[in-house]
Every structure is written in C-alpha cells, then in structure tokens.
Symmetry: C2
C-alpha cells in the first residue's frame, strides 16, 4: 500500500480492510460509511462489498442499505482455537475461577502487539465486563498483554516491548506508564491494570505457558465495583493458584 512492493496484492488488502472496518464498528455499515472508514472510493467499496457478499462474508442487514458480517467469518478463526491443547486444559479451570469469584474469567494469547481472547467464561456478578471470544486489545492497555509480555524470554520480550512502545508513541501516548506496568509485572509475576483502556475497566492477569507459547489467565473487572486492594488480595491469590495448576509461569521452564 504505502511501499512499492511488487509482491503485495492491493485488492486483497482493501477487501480485508472492509471486513476489518465492519469488525471494528461492531455494527452494520453502509457503503458510504465504509468508504469513509477506509478512505477508498465509493465505487471501489461497492465492488468489494459486492464481491464479499457473493463469497458470503457480508450480507445486507435488515436495515437494508448497510452490510454486516456473517457467521462465516467465525470459521476462519476456528482452527486457531481447535489446535490449542492449552485451551482444553484451561477451560475447566476458568470455570472454577469464575464460579469461585463470580467474575468473568478468560484466556488470552498474544498476536503481534495485541492480545486476543480465545475463551471467555461469563461471570455471575451483576456488573460484568462484556467480552466474547475473539475480542482484541493492544498489549499496552490490557492486563493479559502485560502478563504475557512479562513471561516471554528476555530477547523476545525486548523486541515486542519495543514495538509496543513505538505503537504507543505513534499514537501520541506516553510509554512510561506501560514501562512501569511491565516492570511491576515482571517483578511480581502478576499484572494489574486499571482504567488504562477505558475508564471504569481494568483487569488482572497471570501468565501461563502452553503450546510452546505464552498465554494469560485474566479476569476483567469493573474498576468501579472492585478496589485495587481487592484485586491485589483475594483475586490475585485465586489467579495465582489457578495458574499454578496449569503449568510453569515462565517460557522455557518445561
């Protein structure tokens, strides 16, 4: 796109940009809105949505004139889940965790400078953070991201952390907060974040190693209903305990 890469297929990137835009919006969008969101010409968007709808990735929503993602999009992610043995082992633990605390419990894995939630067990508490499989957050603002990062082998941690910092600055943020969070997580083996992504939302996470890569057990919390002390206390204890059962907390300690 930006660079002169004779190997790069533009049309494909544009088509996927449409799907991403729909995913980000979390609601049906019209061709016009899509054109704006992707800075493509309306006629181009029209052709792409037309193609995607023939392929079955989008369809006109009832509120006609807008396109929405179809369930077919779920299938592309399916093998990612199906191949994870850690997920099988983690599932019952997440269930326990959620039952014991009433909170939502989730398993997250890294994907570049993001984390993706691969399993979510909904909590029973009245005020629960809404989350579903496939949810995605920048590493910098998620407890799970910090936790995963903290357990990576030194070398890898450094390169990923650098990319994260670069991303923060590029968006005009301050990397110091991230640095502090990471340092604290490395030292304590647990990551606690409050109000970093959105006000009122936070999380706590511990790393677990599985499938040759680092994942994180995490509990998202509404910061309005749970004090930092409560997080550091009982919640942290339960999480640590659960992680213990699942395996070593640092990469390479098989």
């Amino acid at each position: 796109m930006a660079q002169e890469d004779r190997q790069f297929v533009d049309a494909l990137a544009r088509g996927l940009a449409i799907l991403e835009a729909l995913s980000r919006a979390q609601k049906p969008l019209s061709n016009g809105e899509l054109a704006r969101a992707t800075s493509l010409a309306p006629s181009t968007v029209s052709r792409l949505t037309h193609t995607l709808s023939i392929l079955g990735y989008v369809r006109l929503s009832q509120t006609s004139r807008t396109y929405e993602l179809t369930p077919k999009n779920l299938t592309l992610g399916y093998p990612v889940l199906a191949g994870m043995s850690l997920l099988e082992r983690a599932r019952p633990r997440l269930k326990q965790l959620s039952e014991k605390t009433g909170e939502t419990a989730a398993l997250a894995i890294r994907d570049g400078i993001h984390v993706t939630f691969v399993e979510v067990i909904q909590g029973s508490n009245m005020v629960a953070v809404r989350l579903a499989t496939g949810g995605r957050l920048p590493i910098a603002v998620s407890a799970a991201g910090i936790a995963i990062l903290s357990a990576l082998p030194d070398r890898e941690r450094r390169t990923v952390a650098a990319r994260v910092r670069a991303d923060i600055t590029r968006r005009g943020g301050n990397p110091d907060i991230f640095n502090r969070h990471l340092a604290s997580a490395c030292q304590q083996g647990i990551a606690i974040i409050r109000d970093a992504w959105r006000p009122g939302i936070g999380g706590i996470a511990v790393p677990v190693v599985g499938d040759g890569d680092v994942a994180a057990l995490t509990v998202p919390v509404a910061t309005g209903s749970i004090t930092e002390a409560a997080m550091r206390g009982s919640l942290a204890a339960v999480l640590r305990e659960t992680a213990e059962v699942l395996g070593p907390a640092r990469a390479g300690e098989a």
Copy 2:
C-alpha cells in the same frame, strides 16, 4: 470467477480462498499445498500469502515453510458473537444442560446452507465430540441445521430446503434422507441425526428463536456410546425443557 461479473474482484476472492483452505486443512500448509488446494499458480499463491502475512492474517509456523492462521482471524468473527443477545441468555442454560447430562452442549445459528456453532460448552464425559466456536457444518448433515430449518417460517423454509437439496444432489448425495429428517423434525419439534456427517458422530437439536432469527440448542454425541433410545428419551427431554425456558420454538410466535 466463473461468470463474467465486471463487479467481482478476483484477487480478493483468491486471497480469501487461501484463508479458507488453511481453515479447512486445520493445519499449516505450504505454498505448494495451497496452490494445489486452490488450483492457483504457485507464484500467485506466493504473492497472496506474502500479502496476508504482511496484513497479519497468516504467519510462517515453526515448521517453517508452511503458513498458519493467526489469532487475528478470530477478530473478524467477534462482532457476530458480541451482537447476539440470545447468546447471553443461552449461555447459563447451556452450562446447566452440559452439567446435567455430561455431554457437550452448543448453540448454533444458520448461515446460508450451513450452521455455525457460536457457543460451545464442553462436556465432562470421557468420550466427547470435539467442537469449538466457529465450527461449521452443512445443514443437511447436522441436527442443529435440521432443527433450525424445521422452525423457519414456511416460505423461508421452502427456499432454504430447496437450496440444501440442490447442494446434496450436486455432490452426488441422496436428498431423500434429508427430506425424511426434516419432515420428522417438523412433526416432532426435535431433530435427531446419527452418522450422517461422519460415522460415529451424531447429534440432537431443538430450535429456539432469538434476535429475530432461528437458532438451535444442540448436543453432539458419539453414536458409539449413546443409543438412539437414550437420545429420544432423557436427552430429548432435557433439551426440550431447556428450549422452553429460552423462548418460543417457532419463528413468529413472539
């Protein structure tokens, strides 16, 4: 592709074909294998995988030389799940269902002539059918598909059923079995399938209406360990009961 549609963007379709091939294979594939699977020229595949890896949808697996899907693919499906209110209500019921029977319990929605599993609660039985969110089956061979179809408004059911039949014949199958299954489901309000998709695998499903569309509560079973009588008996009863709580079983009876 086949037809002369001046509006159809080929490159996009080809790129998605790569992702689909990887999804179907459920394991990393080399460019050569992808070329064979998609009947594209190797050089074309190379360019597409190159593009997809820059975009972050595939990456080289450890077993270098082969590409695998990244978790980023999960995000495209995320909004599909996040927007379903039925899912929220169904989740605790699925949990109950699974605990009561020990079997895996799932919620499925229709997508063209396929069903996609949008939530799966793993059972505790020793022999469990492996299934994850995003799994996909043709309507014709899945209990969930038959159940959903059976609860559709007459008009819609007829058109979809016709497409399903067309698909069956196109693949050299016999639509009669499907017709019988559908008729039986329409009459009894419950669908039972055994060994239709793969030998040893079957399922039982009841329709539920939610989000303006029909979904299905389903329990996949290993036909080797559960007799048809058991399915028709206690399993069916529990399913019916659960569906009752979730709402009306036929579209339009709000």
